[in-house]
C-alpha cells in the first residue's frame, strides 16, 4: 500500500499545533459554558440598571449640592436676621400702643372662625390632641 505521508511538502508555522490546541480547548470551554448555563433574555441589560439604581440609593448628595444647600441656609439666616433687625427698628419708631389681650382676642376670633377642625388639629401638639380626646370621651 502506498504511504502518502512519506513525503510531506507542506509546512505549518512553528508552534502552530500547540497554539491550535490551546485555541480549540479555549473555544470549546467557552462555548460549553454558554451551552450548559443560560440566563433570561435581556438579563444583563436589566442587571446593569438594577445595580446602578441600588448604588445611587447609597450615594450621599453630591458635595457641590451640599455646598450650595449650605450657602442657601446661610443666605436665609442672614436675610431673616436683617428682617428681624429692621422690624425691631421699625417697631421702636412706632408710638402706637396696642394692648396685648385685645390683639390676642382679635387674632383668635378671626382665625378660629375660619379654621376647620383638621386645620386646628394640625397646629396642635400630640399631647394636646390626646388631652382633648380624653375630655371628649368623658360622659
Amino acid at each position: 500500500m502506498t504511504n502518502f505521508n512519506r513525503k510531506n511538502y507542506f509546512r505549518v508555522p512553528k508552534g502552530y499545533f500547540e497554539k491550535l490546541e490551546k485555541r480549540l480547548i479555549r473555544n470549546s470551554k467557552s462555548s460549553s459554558n454558554k451551552l450548559d448555563f443560560n440566563v433570561p433574555s435581556g438579563y444583563f441589560d436589566t442587571l446593569e440598571e438594577a445595580v446602578v439604581r441600588k448604588a445611587r440609593l447609597l450615594t450621599p448628595p453630591k458635595t457641590q449640592e451640599r455646598k450650595a444647600t449650605a450657602l442657601y441656609y446661610f443666605a436665609g439666616i442672614a436675610a431673616s436676621l436683617t428682617l428681624v433687625f429692621n422690624l425691631i427698628q421699625y417697631q421702636q419708631n412706632q408710638v402706637i400702643e396696642i394692648e396685648d389681650q385685645a390683639l390676642n382676642d382679635y387674632i383668635e376670633s378671626y382665625y378660629m372662625d375660619n379654621l376647620d377642625s383638621y386645620e386646628m388639629l394640625s397646629m396642635m401638639e400630640d399631647a394636646e390632641i390626646e388631652l382633648l380626646s380624653d375630655f371628649s370621651n368623658k360622659p
Binding site: R26, L35, F37, N38, P40, V51, K54, A55
Partner: protein, 182 residues
Amino acid sequence: MSTSQSIFVNALKDPITKEEAFRRLVSEYKERLYWHIRKLVLDHDDANDVIQNTFIKIYLNIDGFKENSALFTWMYRIATNEALNFINSKASKMGLQNQDWIEAKADRLMADSYFDGDEAAHLLQKVVARLPEKQRIVFNMKYFDGMTYEAIAEIVDTSVGALKASYHHAVKKIKTELNDKF
C-alpha cells in the same frame, strides 16, 4: 499598576465622576463576574443576588482599594467571597453543611430551566460539586475560566504550588468518579 487603571480607579473614587465610572465598571465586568459566580452557586436566581451584592460591595469599598492588585483581581476576590458567604448563609438556614447544599443544587440542575447541559454536562457538575470547597473554586477558575495559576493565587491568596496541588487533586478525583460512572 497600569496608569489607565489608576485613572479609572480615581474616577471611581471621585464623588463627581463616581456614578458614571461605576456604570462603566458594571458594563465591562458584569458578565465575567456573573459567570464566575454562577459556576459557584449554580442557580441563576442565586447568582443574580450574589452579583448585585458583589457590585454594591465594590461600590461601597472602592475608596479602600489600594491598588496592590489589579482591579479585576480585587473584584474577583469580592465575588468569590460573596458567593461563599451566600452558600454558607443558605446552607446554615437549612441546617445543612455547605457541601450538602451545593450537591443538592447540582442534583437538581436538570430541572433548572436555565441549564441547557446534557447528561454528561450534568454529571460533570455533580462530580465537581462533590469536591471540597477550595478545590471546587480552583477547578472552576482553572478548567472552565482558563485562568493562570498566578491569577488564581492572587484571588484566593494561596501559593501557586498549593494551587497546583489542589487542582491536580481535583482533576484526579473527577477522573476517578467519571470512570466509575462509565
